[in-house]
Every structure is written in C-alpha cells, then in structure tokens.
Amino acid sequence: MTSFQAARRAEALAATFPPLLVAAQRVAATVLQGVHGRRRPGSGDAFWQFRPFVQGDLTSRIDWRQSAKSDRAYVREREWAAAQTVFLWRDASASMRWHSPLAQEEKRTRAELLLLALAALLHRGGERVQLLGVARPRQVSAAGSLEWLAELLAEGVAGEDNVLLSAPLPRHARVVLIGDFLAPLEEIKTVLTRLAGIPVTGHVLQVLDPAEMLLPYEGRVQFVGLEREGEMLVSRAEHLREAYQRRLRAQIDGLAELCAAAQMTVSVHRTSEPPQAALLGLYMALAGQ
C-alpha cells in the first residue's frame, strides 16, 4: 500500500470515526458503572485510606482538609479497582456489511458501535480491553484511547474465524464475541470448543438484520449471497417465509446450546432496535460472571 493510499484511508477514517465514537460514548453513558473493589489502594473512585505524605508524592495529591487536623500532611488514597483484560471480537466478514431497508445501519456498524461502547464502559471501570481480529492486537486500558480502538477497528481486516482458533488467550480470560453467527453450526462449534478448552468464558451477541429475521420479500426474487455463496432464484418469496423462519430459529437455538455447553452466555440483537438495550444486556452478562 502506497503512502498516498494510506493517507486516503486515514482521511476516510477521520471522516467516519468521530460520530461512531460519540455514539459509543453516548450509549455508554446511559449504563451505570459497576464497582470492582480490589480491597487495596490504587486507582479508583472509592475512598480507601489516608496515609502520610512521603517524598515523591505529588503535592497535588495532598488532602489539605485532613492535613489541617494534625501536624502532618496526608495523602488520600482510593481503593484500587483492578483491571481485567477483556477480549473483544467482532465479525468483520462481508455478510456483516449489509442492511435491509428495514434497518438504518449495517450489522457491522452496529457491532462495532456496541463493541466500542462496551470498551468505553470497561475503561471507565478500569478494565483493560484487547481487540481480537484486528491488524495490530494490543492491550488498551486508558479511557482516552477509545479513538485508538476505533482506528484499529476501522483498519481491521484480519477478522476471520480462524483468529479465534489461533489467538493466544490467557486462561480464565473473558471474551465478548459479536457477529451474525449464520455460519454452519459445526464451524461455530469448533471455535467455541477451542475457547472452552483454554478455558475462557464470556458472552456471544448475535446481531441480525430484521430482514434476516422476517424474510419480508414477495414475488419473484433472485437472492444473491454476500460471501460467494452463489445466487438463488425464487419465484414466490412469500411462500418460503415460514420454512425460512423455522430454519433460523433452529440456528439460534443451536447456537444457544453450543454456548451453554461452552459456559458462555448468549443473546440476540436486531439492528432495528436501539443499541442501549443490547449494551445493557452485554454489561449485565459480563458483570454477572
């Protein structure tokens, strides 16, 4: 890739990512932050103890009100909210880059929005976040690095299923997987089995377009797959609706079974619904484990 093309991409990135970020922060602000007390001093919001001022401390950290009660200067310490690394993955395949007239945005946009919003929430809780399936995987912890995450997501091209098969994950880590999970259940099962074997726990969020749930087409329709699955001519699309919905239900149920077997929770999100509900669900699922 020439530097010129890189500059072009950076330009396009700069154009798209602030709204994404703002939306992510706005969504994150609606969810109340939980407490992860570690019972020792550290960075956190809750008061932990006063300790005498020692050489090397910043003067700005002196609690003047406490110090005024005696001859010594005290420093206020807060309880350390320990950060755990949460591994985030979103499906970046071509089938995610699609939305029907029934939805406002693509599945991938919604997935990345939820992912960033979750990252913002985790950062606010002091947790660390690492993206899977991006070109430059790296642990990120500071709250101000959301832009950095967004940039990584935007340039991420290495988002394939085998990332989850090969990525080095620490034991007992937490993963959050966001995707449409329309692949054959066997393929999904391979991935989940590997994750369960490490072992890691986490949450699976299935993002679906309303058209994928309802199949609202009528008449003579030629369906075209997005991942080279070929084409399919249907003379009366409305006649296929019930059979299709049965198959989709089977897929969703199969996924739920696989997740339960892998000690992971699962939920389904439609892109026509507001993202807050899904984010809250994600957050509660993570907090509950």
Binding site: W98, D209, A211, E212, G219, F223, V224, S235, L240, Y244
Partner: protein
C-alpha cells in the same frame, strides 16, 4: 400494389407484411416469459438453500400489457412495409403517361396545389415504373422551345416539375393543339391539369387531347382565378374593376393601391354580386395622392393578372392656361390668371403659351379666361382636341359676354347681369348647394361667397342637365356640355375677383381640382415610337428583368396588343416615359371552359397529396414502447408514482396560475396604466386604434419611465372610464350618434381630469380622407362640454412635456391641433380635450411583427418619429398634468425666493 380494405393506402414493400404472421408466435413468447426477477442480496442465503418452492410457473404478464407490445410490433412491421396514403388515384393503362399542365397566368393562384397534385401523380407513376412526359400549354419564354418534353422515367420529371413556374401570359391552346397533334410520343393515358378558364380553340385542344387516349382532367372547381380589369375613371375617381368567372365566389376582392416605393396608400374591397363576374370599388384617394400610385395589387392572388401597373396616363394631366388679356393676366391680385395659377400650381403641370402652341403638345385641360376663340383654323384645332377627350374650362368676362363663340356649353343671353351696386335693387347672390350629379357634389359652400355680376344662360328647356352649380335664385353659375369625348365647362363669372369673390375662396381651389381630375390622362409617348421592355411581371406578379423573348412595342399599340411571350406584361419605354402593358387590358371577361369530352374529371382540391405513413407509424411504435417501458417500471415497483404525480400537479398549478395572471388585466384595469380608445363600431378603425395605441405604448415603454400595459377598447356608455388617463377617439362618419349615457360618461370623464384626444383623421396633407368627419365633430361639439379652444402652440405644456415639439404630425401633417385656452384655471390648466385631424393612431400603428402598417403622408422617417414624439408628449401630459408648466416658472420662483 393492392388497396388494403379499399382504403387509399398502398405499400411500397408489401412482403414485409408477411412478418405480421409471426405476431401470434410473439404473443406466445411474451406470454411464457416471466418478468425479470428483482435482485436482492441476502446474507442468510445459506438458510434458504434447499427451500426451493414447489410452484415454478412463470408470473403472468397482464393481457393488456401483452396487447400493447403486440401493437408496437405490428406498428413497426406496418411502418417497414412503407405504406403510402392517397396513392393510386387510378391512372388508366399501364404504359407511358402525358402530363399536360396549363401554366398560364390563371394557374398562378392555384400553383402550389397544381404542383402538389402533379407530384403525387408522378410519384405514383414512378412506383409502378411508368414513363412520363410533360406538356405545357403556355408558350415558353425561350424562343423555339417545344411544348412537350421527351418521355423519361417519371421520377426524373420531378426535378423538372419543381423548377416550373406559371407564365405571366395566357395559355395558347390552338398552338398547343397543333403541337399535340404533331407529337410523336406514344402514351396510354393523359393527365390534364386545367386552369378551368375558357380560351379560343379550347374545343380543338380538347379533341386533340382526347385523341391520345383516356384522359383524367384535374381542374379547380370552381376556377379561382381573378384578374384586375382596366380601371375606370368616373367623376374624377379611380374605379377599380376585378373580374372572375361569373358565380364562382362571392368573397370580396381586396385591392391595394401602392406607390413605387411599396407603400400602400389605400385598400378597398370590391364585392361581387351573386353570380356576378365583375366587382367594382371606388378608390377614395385625392387626385394628388392618386398621382403617386404606381400599381394596383389584388391582395389574394399572386399572379400577373392580379397586378395593374399604372403609367403616366393615370397621372399626367397637363393644364394649359390662356388669358384673353395676355398683358395683365399675371398681375398680382388683379390678373385673370393670377388665381387660377395659384389654385392649380400645387396639383398639376401648368403650361402657358398661344392656343396653337398649347394644343401642339398633349394637353388634358385647357383653361381660357375671357378669351374668345376665333373661328377658322383655331376653332377647328380646338374642336379636334375636344373631340379627342380634352376638358375646356372657360371663364366669362366682358369680352366673351360681348362676343359669344361656338365653344360654350349653353347659349348665353347678350350682355351680363349685375347684382347689387348703387343702381340696383337686388343684392349680391349666394351660391346654392351643389346638385348631386355635379362633380362638385360634397363640397361645402361657404357663406361668404357672393356673386356680383355674371353672364346669363339662355333658359332653354334642357338647361337643368347642363348645370353643375347655381346661385340661390337658381341662376346657373357653372354649366357644362359634352363635345365628343371631351367636355366644355363654363364659369359664368370672371377668373379674378371683379365679378365675384369666388376665386378668393378655398372652394375655388377644390372646384378646379375636381375639374382637372375629370380629364383624361395623357400618355407620355405618342405615335409609333418603339418602346423597349424595361421591367416585366413574372407569373407571380413580381416586377423583374424582361425575358429574352420580350421585344419592343409601338407606343400607339398599347391597349390593342394582347399579352404574349413577345410582349409580357410590364413597363415599357425609357425611365421618364414609361407605358404599361397589363394582362387585364386584353381580357374582357373570364368564363369557365368546357371539360375535355370523355375525360374523368377530378376537382383539384380533392386530389389529396400522397403521403408516406411510415414515419408516423414508427413514431407511434416508439411511443407505445416508451409507454410499455413506464408500465413495466410501474409493475416492478420502480416508478416513483408519487414523484410523477407531484410533478404533474406542479405543472398543472403553474399553468393555471399563468392563466389566472393573464385574465387579471382584463378584469382589473386598475392594475396597470392602459391607454384606451373609444369603439366606433367600424372594425377597421377600431383595429387601427388598437394597433396605434399598442405601438405608442411600446414606444413609451422603451423611451420613458412610464410602464404602459396593453391598450383597452372602451364603450363610454358601458365601461368605467375612471381608470384611463387618456382616451383616443377617432371620428367615424358611420358611427351611431352618442347615447345620452355615453355623453354623460364622457362629460364626467373630462370634468374629473380625463383627457380625450379627438381625431377627425383627415386634415392637412390628408384632406378629404375622411369626408364628413368635420360635420360629425360639430354635432359632437354641440352636446359635449368642450371648453373654449385655441390652436396648440410651442408654448403649450403639451409641446414640451417630454420632447420639445414644433409640429404635431400623425399620418398627415399640417392641420392645427386644438387645446383648451390656457387662461382657464379649472382642472390645473390641463386641457380635457385635444382635437386634431392628423390620424395619429395610423402613424403609431404596428402589426404583430412590429412593422408600421400605414405609410405617413407626405412621408419620411422624420414624420413618423415626430408622430411618436407627439404621442409620448401626450402620454406624459396625461400622466403628469401641468408639471412641466410649473417648471417654466422656476426662474420666477427662484427670483422671488431670493428676495
């Protein structure tokens, strides 16, 4: 080559119609082919796999859409078969065909239709591969050219036909019949395009034509040719005569009188009576204007017969003057010829000399004032001249009263009669109004004309027939008698102011002018001088260079020589000595010709032109296909119906609002400044008024800050006048008298600040153009509240409201314009009425293409410009009142302020 369902349609490529048999197949194909599917990308296609529905039948295309597509296909097939409408009018036989065309002057008016019909015949012949020859019945302009062309394929004749024009001379059917008999070509049929007019030997020609084979005669039904016959000169008026085939048409013929520079000074319409072959109309032009005419033009027919060239004969009226007392004849105020000279000098060419020398030259009128004609050679010469058509005007006097000669219209009593004076009981006598049969009829007699002395006519029984003017007591004052083709007119008074004050009055001028107009014109060249053709008319009546066949014609042969290729109609002779040879001069009356015996007759108008239908059919197919396209889009849900509907609604609203805006001006005259004119009821005058005010409004809008809208016609009795600042009122002698309501409305209008411009349309240089208008004006003035008037001078505000004007011409110039006396302070000194006779509207008038319609008299761009400037001043005066009048006082006001 077969007519389809007896419609006049044939196909140039009939084998293409076989494709129509394929339409049912097309129907089946269209029926089974489903409409194209919509393409939808769908990520979950894997879940759909294997769910293929059990019914795989194609969706049905609606039957009407199918019919639409079949129709488009049928249209294309029909179009490719090249159908031709009105082909096959049925020319008998299969061999070569002779096309005979009457291309004389009479064909000119129908020429486009003749060539169109001939073209369609040729097209039909060329389709069937037949040969044809052209035969023209009028002699060709090229010497030695034959009547017939050789037989060639019909398509090659079309270019020849396109180059044909009608000839300015009549067809020569006897020569054509000979040529036809001598023609060697073998034809199986003849098509004859006849002009329908009778000529000598038409029978012979018809038989020669019938001898060739079956004949189809295509002739105008009825023959429409019209011709200008020699104009008549009656009572000094030019009478236009138009001839046609009797009973063909009762539509009036419009005749224009045009000058050499193309201005038309008058237009008259001659009305044909039911079944009549000749229509007459008097050309209402004063003699001096008539003398500037160069031709009469029949408006409808562009043919050589529709033009009558006027040469010197219609203009030159030399007048010879001879006094009894040669010594004192020209003495100022006293001389015998002093008043006659001044009365006639502006209108006629005057000559003086001895009687012998005067009569040597051609002379129209001879004026003898108290001159006794000596018997003998002198009397003989004068008698010969009179017999040839001269007009002799004599004035009485002491000498002729004592010595009556043989050149008097009535016998005179010896001596003279004196009225008034110290030794008489009687009073000087007034003149009586002129009798209707007199050439002076219509002239008004001033009160102040008094006759003191006169010679008395012997009261013979038939005296009344010889009197053209008399005194109030019945004594003849002017008598006349015809002698041969000429006339003798005697004034029973002297030509100076000794016996009466008639020579001092304006009436004297008018009487002499009318007498001169009575006389016959004099051709410039005489005898057998050969006059070479200078300009000749072509078949459509356009003057141009003479054809090579034209030869010189003797001056005395004009009028006797028929028009022919050797002598085409036109002007002959040198520049200042032109004589005209006119087609109408050799035609006495038109008659319809008998049709060719045994021929099939087809009227010209009903021979419909041949027309190829392929372009229309293909265009219809394209439209149907476009319709199908949109319908298909609609069926597939791709057409945004709402958008189309919005667009259509928007268009409808726009057009409606435009309509609404148009109608507003008529309904609400207060929305703009409109000039208005009073409807007279005479459609021509009303049209001039409208066009005039239109032209003035445009001029004012261009030149000034005023924004005038369309002019408006008003009827004072019905319409509200209060919206119009200026009312133009042309006086028409035919208009009904004002109703009481109209009168009240006009008086109210003037009282409240409106301005009326009253135009009698006949004054100054246009004297006599609207006779009787002054009388109408007087009758209007009696009932309308017209304030005291003074002539418009350069000091008046109207002369300075926008331009500084010294004269105020319209179409005519020279007559005074009257406005309210300035001392009248009512209405801010703005004159409520302006009266003139210059026919301003005609000078302002423009037609729809912005051209000035009426020539100004005496003429010139300057007069037109001044007319418009007067109009601008008038509008400014009407809009601003005495504003400019106040400006005049500025120096005085400033001076007062300074002190």
């Amino acid at each position: 080559m077969s007519a389809l369902f007896s419609l006049p349609v044939t196909f140039a490529a009939p084998w293409v119609l076989l494709a129509l048999a394929a339409l049912p197949v097309l129907w089946w194909l269209l029926r089974v082919t489903p409409p194209p599917p919509r393409r939808e990308s769908f990520p979950a296609i894997r879940l759909l796999a294997g769910l293929a529905s059990d019914e795989e039948t194609a969706a049905r295309t609606p039957w009407w859409l199918l019919a639409l597509r079949i129709l488009a296909a049928a249209l294309i097939i029909l179009g490719l078969a090249q159908p031709v409408l009105n082909a096959g009018n049925g020319i008998p036989g299969t061999g070569p065909v002779l096309l005979v065309i009457d291309d004389g002057w009479a064909a000119a008016s129908e020429w486009p239709r003749v060539t169109e019909a001939a073209n369609s015949v040729l097209a039909q012949l060329s389709r069937s591969g037949r040969n044809a020859a052209l035969f023209l019945t009028a002699p060709a302009a090229e010497p030695g050219a034959s009547f017939a062309s050789p037989l060639v394929p019909a398509s090659e004749l079309r270019s020849r036909l396109a180059g044909l024009t009608p000839k300015p001379w009549p067809v020569d059917r006897s020569a054509a019949a000979e040529a036809l008999r001598a023609w060697k070509g073998k034809v199986s049929a003849a098509v004859y395009f006849s002009d329908g007019l009778d000529t000598p030997n038409v029978r012979v020609f018809a038989e020669a034509l019938a001898g060739l084979g079956p004949v189809v005669e295509i002739r105008p039904d009825p023959p429409k040719a019209r011709v200008l016959l020699p104009p008549a000169d009656e009572k000094g008026q030019l009478v236009v005569r138009v001839g046609q085939v009797p009973g063909t048409d009762t539509l009036p013929a419009q005749v224009l009188a045009e000058t050499a520079d193309g201005r038309s000074l008058a237009e008259v319409s001659a009305v044909f009576s039911q079944g009549g072959g000749e229509a007459r109309a008097v050309l209402p032009l004063p003699p001096e204007l008539r003398n500037t005419l160069s031709e009469l033009v029949l408006k409808s027919a562009a043919s050589a017969g529709g033009h009558w060239l006027l040469d010197e004969r219609w203009r030159r009226r030399p007048v010879g003057l001879l006094a009894g007392d040669l010594a004192g004849a020209e003495a100022p105020l006293l001389g015998e010829l002093y008043y006659v000279h001044r009365a006639l000098a502006p209108y006629a060419e005057l000559r003086e000399g001895t009687l012998e020398s005067l009569l040597e030259q051609p002379l129209s009128v001879l004026v003898l004032t108290d001159r006794v004609v000596n018997p003998g050679a002198e009397a003989e010469r004068l008698d010969k001249w009179l017999q040839a058509g001269g007009v002799l005007i004599r004035f009485a006097g002491p000498r002729s009263a004592a010595h009556p000669d043989s050149f008097l219209p009535v016998a005179l009593l010896q001596g003279d009669r004196a009225l008034g004076g110290a030794l008489s009981w009687s009073k000087p006598a007034h003149m009586a109004p002129f009798p209707a049969n007199s050439p002076f009829a219509g002239l008004s007699v001033p009160e102040e004309v008094l006759v003191n002395r006169q010679v008395l006519a012997d009261p013979a029984p038939d005296i009344a027939q010889h009197v053209w003017a008399s005194l109030t007591d019945g004594t003849p004052l002017v008598t006349f008698a015809a002698r041969g083709a000429g006339k003798i007119v005697l004034f029973h008074v002297t030509a100076n102011a000794d016996w009466s004050n008639l020579p001092l009055s304006g009436l004297f001028v008018d009487m002499l002018r009318r007498l001169v107009a009575l006389s016959a014109g004099i051709p410039a060249a005489q005898g057998n001088t050969m006059l070479a053709p200078a300009q000749t008319l072509d078949g459509f009546g356009q003057l141009g260079a003479p054809p090579p066949t034209a030869t010189a014609l003797a001056a005395n042969a004009f009028g006797r020589t028929p028009v022919s290729p050797q002598h085409p109609p036109g002007l002959y002779g040198p520049e200042n000595n032109r004589q005209a040879l006119n087609l109408g001069g050799s035609i006495s009356a038109l008659a319809a010709s008998a049709p060719v015996p045994g021929a099939r007759i087809e009227p010209l108008g009903r021979v419909l032109p041949e027309r190829a239908l392929a372009p229309e059919l293909i265009a219809a197919a394209v439209i149907v296909l476009a319709l199908d396209f949109f319908v298909s889009l609609g069926l597939r849900g791709l057409l945004r119906l709402r958008r189309v509907a919005t667009l259509a609604a928007l268009l409808a609203v726009c057009s409606f609002s435009a309509h609404a805006a148009e109608g507003a001006a008529d309904k609400y005259p207060s929305l703009g400044i409109h000039l208005a004119y009073v409807i007279t009821g005479d459609p021509q005058i009303d049209q001039i008024s409208r066009m005039g005010l239109q032209g003035l409004s445009e001029y004012v809008n261009q030149r000034t800050a005023a924004e005038l809208a369309e002019p408006v016609a008003v009827a004072p009795a019905q319409d509200d006048l209060s919206f119009y600042p200026l009312l133009y009122w042309p006086i028409s002698t035919e208009a009904p008298p004002l109703s009481a309501r109209a009168l009240a409305a006009l008086n109210d209008y003037m009282a409240r600040g409106g301005i009326i411009l009253i135009d009698t349309r006949g004054g100054g240089s246009g004297e006599d153009f609207n006779p009787g208008a002054n009388a109408v004006l007087v009758s209007i003035g009696k009932v309308l509240n017209i304030p005291p008037l003074v002539p418009l001078t350069t000091d008046h505000v109207l002369a300075r409201a926008f331009y500084l004007l010294r004269e105020f011409p319209g179409r005519y110039t020279g007559s005074p314009v009257w406005v309210q006396r300035d001392q009248d302070r009512a209405n801010d000194s703005v004159s409520p009425v302006i009266i003139g006779a210059n026919d301003w509207a005609a000078a302002w008038a423009v037609d729809s293409e912005g051209r000035n319609v009426y020539a100004v008299i005496p003429g010139g761009a300057r007069q037109r410009l001044l007319a418009y400037r007067f109009g601008v001043n008038l509008v400014m005066y009407a809009l601003t009142g005495n504003y400019k009048g106040d400006q005049v006082h500025i120096p005085a006001i400033l001076e007062r302020l300074g002190q």
